[in-house]
Symmetry: C2
Subunit: 181 residues, 2 copies
Amino acid sequence: MAIEKKIDCVILGLLSHEDLTGYEIKKRMDTSLKYFWGASYGSIYPALSDLVKNGMAVKRDETENNRHKIIYSITQKGRCHLKDWLRLPAEKDELRYETLLKLFFGNEAGALQAISHIDAFEEKIEKDLQHLTDSADILRKNVSSDDTHKYYLLTVEFGIKTYSAYLEWCREAKTMLKKER
Amino acid sequence: MAIEKKIDCVILGLLSHEDLTGYEIKKRMDTSLKYFWGASYGSIYPALSDLVKNGMAVKRDETENNRHKIIYSITQKGRCHLKDWLRLPAEKDELRYETLLKLFFGNEAGALQAISHIDAFEEKIEKDLQHLTDSADILRKNVSSDDTHKYYLLTVEFGIKTYSAYLEWCREAKTMLKKER
DNA sequence: GACAAATATATCAAATTGATATATTATTTA
DNA sequence: TAAATAATATATCAATTTGATATATTTGTC
């Protein structure tokens, strides 16, 4: 069997750190990974079934306070596949920014509308940047105790660097658009 | 009928600038738009049929040097839909970087492998940045003659700003990873 | 004249999203 | 304390989109 599809690899990666339920995997996607990768329930749950079917993970049922859980663990085979995939060069590095798309067609709608799209973008980025900065502060404190934090911190610093650049661009772009009116 | 799906809006945006064939639309996607939006033939050709069916575009057959072409033009109705969509706030601004994903799980594979992923990323970004810088130079010369170029330039400057930040991060990340060994 | 590259349209399986359904437990608010 | 809301948890499905591939002609190169 060839190296699995992306969603399988991401899940194996998360399971390599700790045992997780599907719900918890989704939470990791929406917090730690959200700035560079996403996944929906519609891909996570079927992928978990496939991983078990292919011997990459095992599941166990647990009931905690009457709440039913299915907890997944990575197997040795799963860890091998993860390592194989990590060795391969990254295939997909892409950005999909609707804000830039609307800006590209900005001539149709005019400078004022373009500025309001940039304002909305700026506001969202400022909020996210604050969140990233907070994460980085916490991670820097724990980076010596756990090596996985070191790599996590690298991705957060990527976010901080790029989001700061976004904000610079926002200001310059708005200046340019206002000057032209 | 509600505002169409993204691919329809992108195509309407491109057709608002000039008449195009499906093949030419794909070329625009792979050049002007490639740094912030992508689309495949599998979405372009069906979308063009739908746009014609819904009166957003019209097609005409042309034969140039025995080569058959289907050229699409935006209609008044299509232009209205485009304007409606441009007015709405951007829904999807997301980054999907497999390089960062592999880095996040870097602990499983070690610092050397992480560095080699960053090296590959850096090389690709350097090449793209050169291309973006060249585009910006050309655009700045034509920005006064055509207003659409102004908006195109804004997106190129976004690319330059962010790609420069990526390169800074690459250097710092590698320094950090080398120090730790 | 042969070969590769570019132009041009089209389709399809597979991957993925976004929304939704269902049910239980925990927490907040009236 | 009762009701409402949020969080936990699993699961499915239509719709969107990709990535690959098929086909055919023309243009440029060796």
